[in-house]
């Protein structure tokens, strides 16, 4: 079953606007990661936030993590047409008995940025 679930499933905005995507998860984590996938391509890592961090920035990306609510958000500011892609959150599982090999991905948010 999916650990992370993104919301909304699809988002359409105009160029220059901000885009916010949310991710909820069920069990305790060590870290949460966000990935982008352009149509027909492999996933590309965007940002990783650890469970003891609350906010992280990378260029136009801002990620927040609220472990008490088991949720994260990805904000893309001043969006561009080139940001059109699917965005996935992925979580590890901190209760994996010492092994920390696997990520579990959500189903993704499809972001469309209209010129």
């Amino acid at each position: 079953s999916q650990q992370g679930e993104e919301d909304p499933q699809a988002l359409s905005i105009q160029e220059g606007e901000n885009a916010t995507m949310n991710c909820s998860y069920k069990t305790s984590i060590n870290n949460l990661q966000w990935y982008r996938q352009n149509s027909g391509r492999g996933l590309v890592h965007l940002i990783l936030i650890r469970s003891n961090e609350r906010e992280k920035h990378s260029g136009r990306l801002r990620v927040t993590l609220d472990t008490s609510k088991k949720s994260s958000s990805l904000l893309i500011t001043a969006s561009r047409a080139a940001d059109t892609a699917s965005y996935f959150c992925a979580t590890d599982a901190s209760n994996s008995g010492g092994s920390n090999y696997k990520l579990t991905f959500g189903k993704g948010t499809l972001l469309t940025v209209n010129p």
């Binding site: 999916q2 870290n31 996933l43 990783l48 590890d92 696997k102 990520l103 991905f105």
Partner: protein, 113 residues
């Protein structure tokens, strides 16, 4: 792109035939993963490897087997392909498991008729 390739990139096969997909990396990363991606299901883990000859099952391992005889190659085999295995398959690599980022290959589109 990270040094990770997948072959073939596209394949059409018939039900009941064996199929092997190859993932090759030049990064010397310890961990390798096979995922499948289907509409409505997102990315699901099939099998993964945490070292040469060390593999384990993922979420959707039925009907699939894997082998890793050397660091750079991770093979995914469908012993007898079924139409439900029509999907896009992605290989990923990681230096430190789930503690840091995974790098993805370009994908293999498999169609089972």
């Amino acid at each position: 792109d990270a040094g990770i390739t997948q072959s073939p990139r596209h394949k059409v096969t018939e039900t009941g035939t064996p199929v092997t997909l190859r993932c090759h990396q030049t990064e010397n990363h310890r961990y390798m993963y096979w995922y499948r991606q289907d509409p409505g299901h997102g990315l699901r883990l099939i099998h993964y490897s945490y070292g040469v000859k060390d593999t384990d099952k993922g979420e959707v391992s039925d009907g699939y087997s894997v082998s890793r005889s050397k660091t750079e190659d991770f093979l995914l085999t469908l012993e007898s392909a079924t139409s439900s295995q029509t999907s896009v398959y992605f290989c990923a690599i990681s230096a430190s498991g789930a503690r840091n980022e995974q790098f993805f290959g370009p994908g293999t589109r498999l169609t089972v008729l």
